[in-house]
């Protein structure tokens, strides 16, 4: 199975080099290990995350593409759907079986036809439209809902800090 995974990951990497969506750079962290990718994601415009560039790690399981990878922001960023440890919680990274309440639609979930590109695009849209209904970081959820200016101020501050300005 891990041979399929390697082949598939290599193919996805090639495709991403050839034509990568704007604001996204991704690739294996080193050439010996295709199962760990580094990604750079640009903050979408007209959001608090604008002008920010965020570093994240994609970790693929051996049975990829049957199981979804995990995505972790390093360092963690303040966002309702990102756990304090940086792990991203969105529906595309979950298998359909993981959600007993059928809260998320099956089409939005992980399936072998999804890809790294689709995941990263979903993350971009997650940055611009947080889903506070199923939050991962409760403090961020509350702040986002009740005190938007403060939320934006904190995000901005961390972006400035991360850029070393």
């Amino acid at each position: 199975m891990s041979k399929t995974a390697q082949k598939r990951l290599f193919k996805e990497y090639q495709q991403l080099i050839r034509d990568s969506p704007p604001g996204i750079v991704a690739g294996p962290a080193n050439e010996n290990d295709l199962f760990l990718w580094d990604c750079l994601i640009q903050g979408p415009p007209d959001t608090p995350y604008e002008h920010g560039v965020f570093n994240a790690q994609l970790r693929f399981p051996r049975d990829y593409p049957l199981s979804p990878p995990t995505l972790t922001f390093t360092p963690a960023i303040l966002h309702p759907n990102i756990y304090p440890n940086g792990e991203v919680c969105i529906s595309i990274l979950h298998s359909p079986g993981d959600d007993p309440n059928m809260y998320e639609l099956a089409e939005e979930r992980w399936s072998p036809v999804q890809s790294v590109e689709k995941i990263l695009l979903s993350v971009m849209s997650m940055l611009s439209e947080p889903n506070v209904e199923s939050g991962a970081n409760i403090d961020a959820c509350i702040l986002w809902r009740d005190n938007r200016p403060e939320f934006e101020r904190q995000v901005k501050r961390s972006i400035v800090a991360s850029l070393g300005l």
Partner: protein, 550 residues
């Protein structure tokens, strides 16, 4: 009624040794029938004495085979509670699956869609017919789309394809580029009506992964569902069975009033109770509906535990809950604390020296010897000689932690008998060998050798009854006369069980054959004592002398 056949079989065996059956089949069937009707009208008070009389009335020995049959089952009925026989059957998973298909057949005229589709809907609704029918009448089209039976029209998979042009099934492609494994090869492919086509290898991996989860499997790109037929076609063998087995589980879960899994490890039997109406009657007279599966595992249909008479299900569950809760507490308390020698408060030593001061009565004592601290003075190690007798006599005087002690006592007894039951089980394995030995060495026929197996069965039943009787005893009002009678009964059974157990230890085949009558007498006595104890326990329950309290 598989199990009934089994019982009659067992009893048939000892008919051949009629000469020493006096303890066993003493009462003719009719008398038992009277007993049963008596106890049904709540006059069962006398029943325990009826059993005592059994050995005396043994002039009815010339019973026909038929009579023995009836009396055997009547006897069983008495053990199980003087209530109507339970009508149940033991099923296998295949039987259940056939039943499920029958339900589908039954629903087919209402839905008027193919059987497979209904099966799919039922799977999705965990065999909750009512909810499915409700949703069906309310929003049939949405339901069909959501469940992946019809192609969804609003979500666009790979649009532009003519939907009718896509045929469901396995195809062969000369050159196919699978977007999952990213390989271009000539291979078989599979697609549903949605047209999402992938190579068969990828589909196989995908299905293998999903089969364990037990949900309906859908196309990898949309919510269109794969039917059992498709799965078997892709995998090339009967793989959908695996998916169905999880569906069988939910079917039984849904119908758990009538269907129950056998709780024994690795037993795949399912008991189906045909008539639940007698169930209430069972609970009312504090009997438990004991059933037996094909592998002769006997258990209580109501609470799922082993045979637990004389205790009823209430007592059993409270007892077990308490045992679970208390045993942890108890273990901790016993291993980490000591009682204050003066006021019996349990004290935990959380460090420091051995000079203890009880926080409740301020008594100062030594942790090592539990004696007064004063003589110790600064001389720490004068008390290394642990005086066992002394501390024992001290604790027995205390009565503050009486309830805990009382519980500990009964719990210990319960455990002891459980441990013995396990040893008896090991004994059972050697009995099998002994029977073989008898056959080979002395040429005893198989049927004649069965008295050993029969004795073992009596021993097991006696042990279990004895074990659970301690649960009853714990919850009973100790001052009541009937409780005292119960305790006497316990003792009698306990003695007789030990006697029989000892007898079963004999290894020499000749000796065993010589003692055959002894075996019969002792086993019969144990059986009768067991019945008496069960009856007595039931009376305690019925009169409210024994009540489950927390």
């Amino acid at each position: 009624m598989n199990s009934d056949e089994e019982y009659s079989l067992v009893y048939d065996d000892d008919d051949d040794d009629n000469d020493s059956l006096d303890f066993y089949e003493a009462l003719p069937a009719t008398e038992f029938a009277i007993n049963i009707s008596k106890s049904r009208s709540h006059l069962s008070q006398s029943s325990e004495f009826d059993i005592e009389e059994d050995p005396l009335s043994n002039d009815d020995m010339a019973e026909s085979m038929l009579d023995v049959h009836v009396s055997a089952s009547a006897k069983r009925a008495l053990t199980e509670g003087s209530v109507p026989d339970l009508k149940y059957e033991c099923l296998t998973t295949e039987d259940i699956f056939h039943r499920m298909l029958k339900r589908v057949d039954h629903l087919q005229p209402i839905f008027s869609i193919p059987h497979e589709d209904i099966l799919l809907l039922m799977q999705l609704y965990d065999w909750n017919e009512e909810r499915l029918l409700e949703d069906w009448t309310e929003k049939m089209d949405i339901l069909l789309e959501e469940s992946g039976i019809h192609v969804s029209h609003n979500s666009n998979g790979i649009e532009g394809n003519d939907k009718n042009g896509n045929i469901r099934g396995v195809k062969f492609q000369e050159s196919f580029n699978c977007i999952i494994c990213c390989e271009e090869k000539s291979t078989e492919t599979f697609s549903l009506e949605c047209g999402h086509e992938y190579c068969i290898d990828c589909y196989r991996h995908y299905i293998k992964d999903k089969l364990n989860k037990g949900n309906v499997i859908t196309c990898m790109d949309c919510s269109l569902a794969l039917k059992n037929d498709d799965i078997d076609k892709i995998m090339g063998h009967q793989s959908s069975n695996k998916l169905m087995s999880s569906s069988i589980k939910s079917f039984i879960q849904k119908h758990n009033n009538n269907y129950k899994w056998c709780p024994y490890t690795d037993c795949k039997c399912i008991i189906h109770l045909k008539d639940t109406s007698s169930f209430a009657e069972y609970l009312r007279v504090h009997c438990s509906p004991f059933v037996s599966c094909k592998s002769s595992h006997r258990f209580c249909f109501s609470c799922g535990f082993e045979i637990h008479s004389p205790a009823d299900c209430d007592i059993t569950t409270t007892w077990i809950k308490k045992a679970k809760k208390e045993s942890e507490n108890l273990n901790w308390v016993l291993s980490h604390t000591k009682e204050c020698p003066k006021c019996s408060v349990n004290i935990e030593k959380n460090g420091g020296c051995n000079h203890m001061a009880c926080s409740s009565c301020k008594y100062e004592f030594c942790w090592i010897c539990s004696g007064d601290w004063k003589p110790h003075g600064s001389n720490f190690y004068q008390c290394t000689m642990y005086n066992n007798e002394d501390s024992k006599s001290k604790t027995s005087v205390e009565d503050t932690s009486k309830t805990l002690k009382r519980y500990t006592f009964y719990y210990r007894m319960f455990n002891e008998h459980e441990a013995s039951a396990k040893l008896d089980w090991q004994l059972g394995q050697t009995v099998e060998n002994k029977v073989k030995h008898l056959q080979e060495k002395i040429g005893v026929s198989w049927i004649e050798g069965q008295f050993l197996t029969e004795s073992l069965r009596a021993l097991n039943e006696g042990r279990t009854a004895l074990k659970w009787s301690f649960a009853i005893a714990f919850y009973s009002d100790p001052s009541h006369n009937l409780t005292k009678i119960f305790v006497d009964n316990q003792m009698l059974l306990s003695n007789s069980v030990e006697d029989l157990s000892e007898l079963l230890q004999i290894k020499n085949p000749e000796k065993i054959m010589n003692k055959k009558t002894d075996f019969y007498n002792k086993a019969g006595y144990v059986t009768n004592r067991t019945l008496a104890l069960i009856q007595c326990g039931r009376d305690l329950l019925r009169k409210g002398i024994c009540k489950p309290t927390n």
